[in-house]
């Protein structure tokens, strides 16, 4: 974990050393990565079928955008309210989904999340519908691109630290136990649903933080942020980086964002490439890059014997 801390500190100097587009891309990676990590908290560690996580990202972003542009409240209030609204939406939708298992959980979530999308798309008096809201004014301290990046990096750092603490806490251990065997957990007296609901609220809160950071980065929000396609794209990032590792989704987000920017510039068939990458991953690298790396290290350490089983234990 020490190298991650070092990398994080080093990134604070990025605006001095790197070009502006590089800094912007780093910002996109951090925001997307935070979103992917918040999803992984539920899927990789919690075993929940959180199929429409993007909806909460959108709720966070729209809340901030609407409070800033439609009310006279200070912009900081809007930025702070975003994650809270996302967590509240998480609580409401989560308590409906939590009554059911697995696939049903996922299907109902896609349905309810799509309702939020319809709302953003159709309540155009409030949300400008399809066009989205642009040119959202930010607090003075965040208006320079360098200072916005520093803020982003600081917030993402704090969030990662908090997520790490949560996963290392007894609560995190219980969550993983529930993922691996919910029946046994219930039998020993753990309130499974309450734990899962708490995890949903925590994860949607961080998704809301990512949404607010998107507003800081781009100054815009639009309905696509709540569309189901984005939610499944975040899954690809988690899968690519590694379900069962802490920083894997961040790595996955970095690779997808870079690929999209570089490859997207050369071909109009980016979606096709993404689909092929996804299917290759499912077949050949189901634990993701960091998961495979981790297994390789275990394998070497033991010097002999088969590697430990890991792949399909996921959200199963």
């Amino acid at each position: 974990m020490l190298w991650a801390l070092g990398l994080w500190l080093a990134l604070f100097f990025a605006p001095l050393a790197a070009g502006r587009f590089t800094v912007y891309l780093l910002g996109v990676i951090l925001v997307t990565g935070l979103l992917a990590m918040s999803l992984n908290l539920l899927v990789g560690h919690g075993g929940a079928y959180q199929f429409h996580h993007g909806a909460f990202y959108g709720v966070g972003a729209y809340t901030a955008a609407l409070l800033i542009t439609k009310t006279s409240l200070p912009a900081w209030v809007g930025l702070a309210a975003g994650p809270l609204a996302a967590a509240f939406a998480g609580l409401m939708i989560g308590s409906l989904c939590i009554r059911l298992n697995k696939l049903y959980f996922g299907m109902i979530q896609i349905s309810l999340g799509s309702l939020l999308w319809i709302l953003a798309l159709r309540w155009y008096d409030l949300t400008n519908g399809d066009d989205g809201i642009h040119g959202i004014p930010l607090p003075e301290a965040l208006s320079g691109s360098g200072s916005a990046f520093t803020f982003l990096l600081a917030v993402v750092g704090v969030c990662l630290l908090a997520m790490h603490r949560i996963l290392e806490s007894p609560f995190g251990t219980t969550l993983r136990a529930i993922r691996d065997n919910p029946q046994r957990c219930a039998a020993v007296g753990i309130h499974v649903r309450r734990h899962q609901l708490t995890a949903i609220v925590i994860a949607t809160f961080f998704a809301g933080v990512a949404g607010v950071l998107f507003v800081v980065l781009e100054g815009s929000v639009f309905p696509d942020m709540l569309f189901w396609v984005l939610s499944l794209e975040i899954f690809i990032m988690c899968l690519l980086g590694g379900w069962f590792t802490f920083l894997g989704p961040m790595l996955g987000a970095a690779i997808i964002v870079l690929l999209r920017t570089v490859v997207g510039g050369f071909t109009e068939y980016w979606t096709l490439i993404l689909g092929v990458v996804l299917i290759l991953l499912i077949f050949f690298l189901p634990e993701g890059i960091m998961g495979a790396g981790h297994r390789l290290r275990l394998y070497r350490r033991r010097a002999a014997g088969p590697p430990s089983r890991g792949g399909d234990r996921a959200a199963g």
């Binding site: 899927v43 079928y49 199929f51 409906l96 009554r99 059911l100 697995k102 696939l103 049903y104 996922g106 299907m107 109902i108 896609i110 349905s111 309810l112 799509s114 309702l115 319809i118 159709r122 569309f227 189901w228 396609v229 499944l232 899954f235 690809i236 899968l239 068939y269 979606t271 096709l272 993404l274 689909g275 092929v276 996804l278 299917i279 499912i282 077949f283 189901p286 399909d312 996921a314 959200a315 199963g316």
Partner: protein, 296 residues
């Protein structure tokens, strides 16, 4: 706002809602069938619906928009979609059945991404349109409302598909094995039945329904890229409120969806689209597993 709220207008609107529900049903029943047997929410279902529409257009155009071309398209397009889904299942999908559901879902998403771009490579981005045969063009006067003949035709096709699907799943050996395999595949395998092929044909049958839906809808809309994204969410909602994997649930869900929206237009046109979604929220709040019994 003056909307004449007569009984005739109400009935006309109801019929139109029913005909809209038929397309939804054909697509959603395929999705539900795959869910029931394979337990996979097939995200690529929308893409196959789109391919069905494009293929129908290609066939109809190749036959010079002759009336026979329309019928050839209605038969040929689902077959093309069936071929694509059979290839995807045999080459890739079948190796994943032992994996957990999330991987299966993500696989179908990958398939959707690839099929979307392949459709564009094959057919391009132009708008396309199919002409129905002459006797299905124009409209009929039903209770003072001009109902397009094609919508009335859909009212006949929908129930026919429902009955056919019911016969296949309840009366044929294939249907019985498929349902049994969904409950306990080891057991069915143990008594010497080749489960893998049963799953393959179940997948292909479900996908062909998506293709048929796409072909049937093509004369009423413009066939374009992106039509996959709109249908899949509606199909998901319908299957969820109907009860996962339950074909009759898909029918109930489609009727609810089509008719609430159609009647919503009559009452409050501005917010018509919200009615089906409201119905979904209400149903899921009070009956989270859907209206009819889910098959699992």
């Amino acid at each position: 706002m003056e909307s004449s709220f007569s009984l005739a207008a109400f009935l006309g609107q109801f019929l139109v809602g029913l005909s809209r529900a038929m397309i939804l049903f054909i697509v959603a029943s395929g999705l539900s069938f795959i869910l029931g047997v394979l337990r996979v929410p097939n995200v690529a279902h929308g893409s196959l619906y789109m391919i069905g529409a494009f293929a129908a257009h290609a066939i109809a155009t190749a036959l010079g928009n002759h009336p026979a071309g329309f019928w050839a398209a209605m038969v040929g397009a689902p077959l093309i979609v069936g071929g694509i889904s059979l290839a995807a299942e045999r080459l890739l999908f079948r190796h994943l059945y032992e994996r957990e559901h999330l991987m299966l879902l993500l696989f179908t998403f990958g398939l959707a991404l690839i099929l979307g771009d392949l459709t564009k490579m094959t057919w391009g981005a132009d708008y396309r349109s199919i002409v129905p045969p002459p006797f299905l063009q124009g409209s009929l006067d039903v209770l003072g409302t001009a109902l397009p003949r094609y919508n009335l035709f859909l009212l006949l096709v929908g129930p026919a598909v429902a009955v056919a699907l019911w016969l296949v799943s309840a009366k044929t050996r294939f249907g019985k094995i498929a349902r049994a395999a969904a409950v306990d595949r080891e057991m069915v395998g143990a008594i010497g039945i080749h489960v893998s092929w049963v799953f393959a044909w179940a997948f292909v049958l479900g996908c062909m329904l998506a293709g048929l839906g796409g072909a049937l809808v093509s004369p009423t809309i413009s066939v374009t890229l992106g039509m996959d994204h709109t249908i899949i969410i509606e199909a998901f909602l319908i299957v969820t409120i109907g009860g996962l994997g339950n074909i009759w649930g898909a029918l109930v869900g489609s009727l609810l969806f089509g008719v609430t929206q159609s009647l919503g237009v009559l009452v409050l046109p501005q917010f018509a689209i919200v009615f089906p979604y409201l119905a979904v929220v209400l149903i899921l709040t009070f009956k989270p597993t859907g209206l009819l019994r889910s098959v699992w």
